[in-house]
Every structure is written in structure tokens, then in C-alpha cells.
């Protein structure tokens, strides 16, 4: 681990100011991912600005949206009575992630910014365009069982490991930012970038920008939702694939549908094409099969991850059947 300085911020403004004033600074939330990466010499920040004491409030705002302070722990969000009643898919996604100990520490903001679990990214002995731009990608022709089937590039085939992000993607969440140039809001679906030829640029965050909150509009009242995650180990394992779905069926017809996938791309993947197939169609197995096919129509397998395509389709169909 490279030596670094540490300071704790008491409010958003001082956090942003401290980061702006310190070259090579990184924000520290729960540290469950960043500190691991620092120990592996993958992340080498010169300074840490601890934002874990920043606002962590969870509640319904005057705008009717669910607001979660970026420093709220995953455990607190998953245990929140309002979240559990009105946004159960968020709680479901969180408790399917990591371990109890990690969830107690990990924050909402940190969860969205956690780095890929690509084994080559973690190994400074390997080539990785994300870790060292231009060095090459050892995963694309290497061991790529856990890698992306959607939205990847020849430069990077890594996946985003977040469970929470997949649920938020299905819920049309927004991410609220503060930075040296002021505050702004981006759609969660626009937060992460696909790798293209710059896989080291993972989000649209400007240097020094900080996630301060995530807000979520209320889902359609009649929609039923579910988060389904497939993994070999029953807990503390990243998704082979995961599915977040909201489905509203009226008189046997799909009134509205939202579908997001995890474990398949460098970002939480919203399957808009599949939603279009579903909306207005009869809520039948045949429709769900067509939606699942559409969701993965653009998928491109690598040597070891081809199973993810039919696996994701199976889980999509079964989740939709369960919700219909």
C-alpha cells in the first residue's frame, strides 16, 4: 500500500474543497472496496478524504421521491421500513450482495462506484487497460467466465459488480453530485460509461465530483417487483447474472415493465428493448420468451462466459412469470 494522507470531512462543501486542494485525492466511503484495492496496489491515492460522516438520511422527500444520503450504509437502507414497504427491490438487491459485515460498512455512494471484480484488474502482474491505460487486456483472451456479454469492447470486458445498482437502474434512480463546479444530477443509467477505448474512465463524474445522494421516484403503484441473483456460493459472491424486474399486469396484459440486468456489462444494464416487447403484450410465457431473447439479442460471448446469455434469459423469463 502506498503511503497516503487522511482527513475526515464534516460536510459536503469541505469534502469537495479538500479533494480539490489535494492532488491524487480519493473519497473514502466504507472503504470495503477502495482499501482492498489500495492493499493490492491497484488504487494508489495520495490522499483520502473520508466522506463516511456526510449525510446518510433515508426518507421520502417533499418531491415524493425516496432520498438516500450517499453515506447511508447498505444495511441501514435495506433495513429502512419505508424502503422495505415501498421499494422492496432495493432491500432485496442489497441483502443479496456482499456479506453482513461488508453491508454494515459499505455506503450507497461507494456501492455505485465500486470497481470491477475482473481478476486481471486486481492483479498488478497482469495487463489491464482499466488499471493501466494502453497496457492491453489479459481477460479478453484469458479466463473470462465472469465477464461481460453486453456492451464490452476489445479493450475491456469487465463487469460492474453492484447489486444495488441493478435495482436502482430498474427504478429510474437519479444520482446527485457535488463538485468544484457546483452541484448537478445525472440519471443512474448515465452514471457509468461503457468501456469503448477508454475503459479506465468508468463514470461521467468529473475530477473531484462526489455523490451526495441517490433519489428514486415511486414505482408504479400496481407494479410487482423482484430481484433475482444467480451465484454458486449462497452468500458473499458476485452475480453470475442478476435480474431486477418490475411488472404491472392489467387484465392479462403488461401495462408496464422495467427490466435491468447485472453481471453482464460494465454498468447496470437496462433492457429497454425487452421492455418494449413486454409493454402492451399479453403476460404470457411466449411474450416473456420474446422479451428475454430481445434483452440478450446483442450479447456477444467470450470463450468462457457464453452460459450467461441463456442463464440470463432463463432468469428473466422465470422472474417475469413469477411477477405476472
Amino acid at each position: 500500500m502506498k503511503p497516503f494522507t487522511y482527513q475526515r470531512a464534516d460536510d459536503v462543501a469541505s469534502a469537495v474543497a479538500a479533494a480539490a486542494a489535494t492532488p491524487g485525492a480519493a473519497y473514502l466511503g466504507g472503504g470495503t472496496n477502495l482499501v482492498d484495492l489500495m492493499r493490492q496496489n491497484v488504487e494508489r491515492p495520495a490522499a483520502l478524504v473520508d466522506v463516511s460522516r456526510l449525510p446518510a438520511r433515508i426518507g421520502i422527500g417533499t418531491d415524493g421521491r425516496l432520498w438516500m444520503g450517499a453515506a447511508a450504509t447498505n444495511t441501514d437502507v435495506a433495513a429502512d421500513p419505508v424502503v422495505r414497504r415501498d421499494f422492496p427491490i432495493i432491500a432485496e438487491a442489497i441483502v443479496n450482495g456482499a456479506s453482513g459485515q461488508i453491508r454494515n460498512t459499505a455506503t450507497v455512494g461507494g456501492n455505485l462506484l465500486q470497481r470491477t471484480r475482473c481478476l486481471y484488474f486486481y492483479d498488478t502482474g497482469a495487463r489491464c487497460n482499466k488499471r493501466e491505460p494502453g497496457s492491453g487486456c489479459d481477460a479478453v483472451d484469458g479466463h473470462n467466465r465472469m465477464h461481460a456479454v453486453l456492451g464490452a469492447s476489445p479493450e475491456c470486458v469487465a463487469t460492474n459488480p453492484s447489486d444495488l445498482g441493478v435495482a436502482l437502474a430498474a427504478l429510474d434512480a437519479r444520482v446527485h453530485l457535488a463538485g468544484p463546479a457546483g452541484g448537478r444530477t445525472v440519471e443512474l443509467l448515465d452514471l457509468h460509461r461503457l468501456p469503448g477505448d477508454t475503459p479506465h474512465v468508468e463514470t461521467v463524474l468529473a475530477p473531484g465530483e462526489l455523490i451526495t445522494a441517490v433519489s428514486v421516484p415511486p414505482p408504479p403503484a400496481a407494479a410487482r417487483s423482484a430481484y433475482r441473483k444467480v451465484r454458486e456460493r449462497a452468500s458473499y459472491a458476485f452475480a453470475l447474472v442478476s435480474v431486477a424486474a418490475l411488472l404491472e399486469v392489467r387484465d392479462g396484459v403488461v401495462a408496464s415493465a422495467r427490466l435491468a440486468l447485472g453481471g453482464v456489462a460494465a454498468k447496470p444494464w437496462r433492457a429497454a428493448v425487452a421492455e418494449a416487447v413486454l409493454t402492451g403484450a399479453p403476460a404470457t410465457r411466449a411474450t416473456f420468451d420474446r422479451a428475454a431473447a430481445a434483452a440478450l439479442a446483442d450479447a456477444r460471448p467470450l470463450a468462457h462466459n457464453g452460459f450467461k446469455i441463456p442463464l440470463a434469459q432463463r432468469v428473466i423469463v422465470s422472474t417475469l412469470e413469477e411477477l405476472s
Binding site: D138, G142, E232, R233
Partner: protein, 740 residues
Amino acid sequence: MNADPIVGRAVPRRDGPAKVSGAASFTAEVPVEGLAHAALVCSTVAAGEITGIDLTEARSAPGVVAVMTHHNAPAIRIAPLLITLRGASFTRAPVMQDARIRWNGQPVAIVVAETPEQADHAASLVRVGYAPAEGRLVFDDLKVGAPQPDHVQGEAPAVLRGDAEAALRTAAARVDQVYRTPWHTHCAIELHATTVAWHDERSLTMWDATQAVTHSQATLAEVFDLDPEDIRVVSQFVGGAFGNKMMWSHQILCAAAARLARRPVRLVLSRSDVFRVTGGRTRTEQRVALGARANGTLTALVHEATTTTGINDGFAEQCTFPARVLYGADSFGIDQRVVELHTPANSSMRAPGESVGSFALECALDELAEQLDVDPLDVRAGLEPAAHPTTGKPFSGRHLLEAYRLGAERFGWARRSSTPRSRRDGPWWIGHGVATATYPYTRMPGGRASVTLSADGCATVRTAAHEMGMGTATVQAQYAADHLGLPLDRVRFEYGDSRHPAAVPAGGSAQTVSIIASVVAAARALTAELLHLAAPDSPLAGAGAGADDVEMRDGGLHPRDGGPGESYAAILRRAGRAELAAEGAASPPTETAQHAMHSYGVQFCEVRVHDVTGEVRVSRWLGVFDTGRIINPRTAASQFRGAIVMGIGSALTEETIFDERTGRVLNASLAEYHVPVHADIPPIDVAWLGHPDPMAPMGGKGVGEVGMVGVAAAVANAVHNATGRRIRDLPITPDKVLGL
């Protein structure tokens, strides 16, 4: 002997309170004055030469005390292999003596600094240049024509009885399949840790997390050309070892670096070091072919296994051992091959050979049972041999049929559906599987122990043995209390220090009986000393007794003929002695010369396989074991359960992934190498028969490893019963289950 034996009681662990309260001091915590800390720099190529090492940045980093590479390392001789019982190494690789690279992860420099963080940071600043060479890395390319090893754990690599291939060709029923298991890595929660303090140029103390105290002492003496008497190895608590905490390069490098730095030095491996610097369990490729008559009896049993090891390391994992002992057959074709690769050495990982070997054999038997449409337990029972099937030796004690009967009843095996894919609970397919377990009885030669009586009538047993969490300190106190005729609270058991009489390594499920044999010898020597001391005015004197004429009971010596005895305290008091000590060497382990001695067991399980996702969850487990007399039901049950947990990991999730282009371990962390978590493990029921083995000291056989044998096969067989899919390569992942 105690009239009401302490052996057999569920005595709580003696080290339990210290461990749960945090009072137990593990190797990485031992306080040492003036301590410096080390970190390793390891190669990132598998084969080739180091062309240059730039230490400029590292040397000028904060806190750096010394940096050692092959340029300034002292002369270090090749460490003696564990198999020779002269040392504790799994590899013959030189330790930092030349520029040659033998595997990806080989230490090429060690940095010593004032704090662990400074050492770690400075290590990241060492720049190493390599001229990589073409390595031996691709198993599938190299397995063809792989050579036979000289021996497999001392046994012949091949056992040929009759013409098994010919018998196969004409068999009424035939299974002929290839089974594969991946590399595994020991994941003890305590990382490997070593602390070395030199007292002068020729003597040192090493605190080490080890399961081979005496043999580590011998190894250090050999590699540094020192007198073993001048080396002290201390290992009080070990947080899990599973066969891996033997002598690797890191202890030798820590000692060499401490001498260079002229400071005590501590080295704690990182988790990735554990994966890359030490070696785990080999991958295997195994052909099992069974030829059978319609009634299920075998005309041919073929088991051919290919395993791997590091370059010139010579460890052949004994995959074919279960096939040599479990079942009768008219002909046998058993053969082992080893492929040398530029990987870390293959080492012993819990039930080496038997665990992965039984996966192949026990799955094949399940396949045969299916083909014959006979219950898989009945097929096994029908193959029960009268004597050891490949050596002809009589069994010392073997009660497998009883274990099958007891297990079937307790598990409710009769309620299993013999039709695959016929039981379902919502989206979960339910299946049941069974497999047999066996593990050899071993008692390694060379163990010693001392018994010291004090004037207050207490006894202290000492031997340089190991407590890695399995209960050694507790069960040995129980045994010694009974043997000496003392209450349990009057017996101390001291271990983990090479100043105590030499012990055998804690391996091969052999430690318990080995210590017992040495305690028996020490107690006998003590008896003679006591009789000598008792003369002439003791009540014992008149008996004219020799050691055979008296027994140790009720806190003293008593003539077997019923005459008056005397307490230990009275004998010592009369002689004016504060204490009396005697040491003994375990008798040579001759019991295996005339008898086939093994532990046995049978594993039953229920799995649930998700119809949509292919996820496999184990929902029920029963293991029934035939392991001789059980000293402590609490610690033995824990050993069985722990081994079953490890077996479930190997069945469903564990796989050390090597990149075959670079020979580098990719998933070198507990986040990516998936040992089971609590949610993966159902309540595990264990039972044992408890028949003492007539040939073993105290009638006991090893319990540490047999519990892992058969586990992966039972899971695979249950998955087949649940889904109709036969998975022949571990781990059994959703994509394989769904055939995607």
C-alpha cells in the same frame, strides 16, 4: 487407568476460552523486542531468468532496514522433503540462490522495514526485469505420456492384478469415464506467519504457524548448516493448517533476512502470497473404468490418475488409494502419472489423494449402480472384500457394512427415489447421494514424549506437537489422565515447542495415535523410575515389582496382584523429590506390517438444484464413520464436520484458477476463491461406530481427514439423482448443471 475413563467424554476444549477471549497469542502477535517486518516480492512470470533487480527506490523508501535478493542471500541448502521425515518441505526448489524462475509467484526479493506497511510499500517499489522462457504450463498438452513417479507416498505407482482391460471388454456392464478436479488452495483463516530472532551467528528462535515443529527445526538446521540443538521452533496456536503449514520458502527467507538485518524479523504472508508462494492441491484427471457382472460384482477395476507438481518436486498425490482398498474385484489396473509444471509445488491438502480420488471412484460406482438398476449402497455392500483387495493383508478392523446399515437407517435412505429427476419442491429438484470414505491409518516413526510428576501429584506431558484447532491439547490430556490414573485437572499437556521431546508432524491423520504411543512409552519409563525411587521402604517394595507388575491408577502405582500401592505424591515425598520425569520414544509403527489399517466412513446427502438457475444447495448431510475409539466426541465431531464443509466447498465452489498463458493464480483472494460460507452449509449430522481398532494404540484411528473423503462424490451423485445430469468435473457450477 481410570476406573471411570475420561477418554470418550465430550470434554470442552482447553484452548477454547483463550481463543474466544482473544488471549491466545498467535505467531503474528508474539511480542519480540526490536522487531522488524518483512514483505515478499514475487515473480510475475513462471519460467525464465531474472535479468536485473532495481532496488534504488525500495532502498530509499521510508523505514527500510534491508533488502535481500539472490545477489546477497546467504548460502541456503535445499530443504529436505516432508516425505523423507527429515524435513517439512514439499519442494526441492532452491530458495533465492540463483536468477532462475521456477513458478509464477516465486519470491525474488524480501524487504525488511520498521513496520509491516513500510515493508509492503517498499516491496512494491522493487523493479524486477525478467527474460521469460517457455514454461510447462498447459496440462492438457503435457499429460499425454506423463511419467510414472518413483512412488506414490511410499507405495507403488501402479498395481496390476490380472488383465483388467481384457476383463472390461467382456464385462456385462461397464462404466468407463474420465473425471476431473481442479487445483485447490488451503484457506486457513490464520495467514502463514513467521518470526525469527537470531541469538548469535549459529542459533535462533523461530515462532511459526506450523504443523511440523520438530521437522521445521530439522529443516532450518539443514538449510543453514546449523546444529538442530541451537534452533528453537515455537508454535503455540495455529489458526488452521489443513496440510499447508509446513516448511516453505517464506520461513527460510525470513530467517535469512533476520540474519542480514541483524534484527528479529516477522513475515506474515498476504492472502495472495498464500495462493502463489505456497502450493495447494493438484488438479487431477482420472479415468475410472468398472467392469461388472449382472449381480454387480466387479470383474475389473481400473483407476488411472494424472496429477501435477512443481518442477522436480516429486509429490504424487495418492488419488488411487481408495481404489486399492475399498472394493473387491477380479482384476485391477491402477496407475498414477505426474506432470511437472511451472507452478507452485503440490502439497498435502486435507485428505490429499483420497478426497479427489474418491470423487472419481465413487461417482463411477454410482454410474454402475444406475446401469445395473441396483441401489448404489447395495452395490457397494456387495463389493465388500474379506481382506485387503490388492495386498491380501487382513484388515485390522473394518466395519463398513455396519456403517452403511446405520447410515441408511439414520438418513432415511430407503425413502430416496431411484428415478432421477423425480422429486421437486417448488423450483428445486431434490436428490440424494451416497459415497464411501476411506483414509489410511498411519503412525509416523520418531515421536517422543516426557511425563513429569510433581510432588503435589500432578503430571505434565510434553511433546513438540501441534494444536491447529483440532483438539490436540484436550484429547491428549484426556488420554494421559486415564493412562496415568489421574483426574483430568491434574494433567497438563504442553506442546508446540522444539524444546519438548520431538514429535511427528501433524499430518496424515497420524498425530493423535503417534503421541499416544509416545506417552505410553514415557509412562512406562516413569513407572520404572517410580519403582526405583520407591524402594526400599515403600509398600510397593515388597512386591518386588517390575513395571509389568504394577498399574498406574488412583493417582499412584498399584500392584496388579492387589497388594498395597502408593500414590505418586507419597513416593516423591518419601524420596524428597520435587518432581520426577521420564521420557520415552514411541514404539516402531509395526502394526501396519501385517494388517491393512484404515479409517472408513459413508457420506449421505440431500441436495436441492434450482430448475431455472442450476444453483445447487446442500440441504441435509450425514456422515457415519468407522475410525476406532473416539477420545472426545466434541472435538471429533468438529473434525468430521469441518472436513465435510471443506468437501462441500470442493464439490460446489472451490477452484484455484491458473492462467495457462502465464502460470499465474488469478483468484488469489477469499473474495474470488469461494470456500463455503454459513449459508452453504446445512446442519451436519455425524455419527461413529466407535469400535476400537485392535492393532492401534488405544484402538484409535485418525479422524481429521476421512471426513472429507467421498463428500464431493456424494454431492455429484445427489445432483444426478435430482436432475439426471452427471457432472464429472468439479466444481459443480450452475452452467454445468444446466448444460449451458
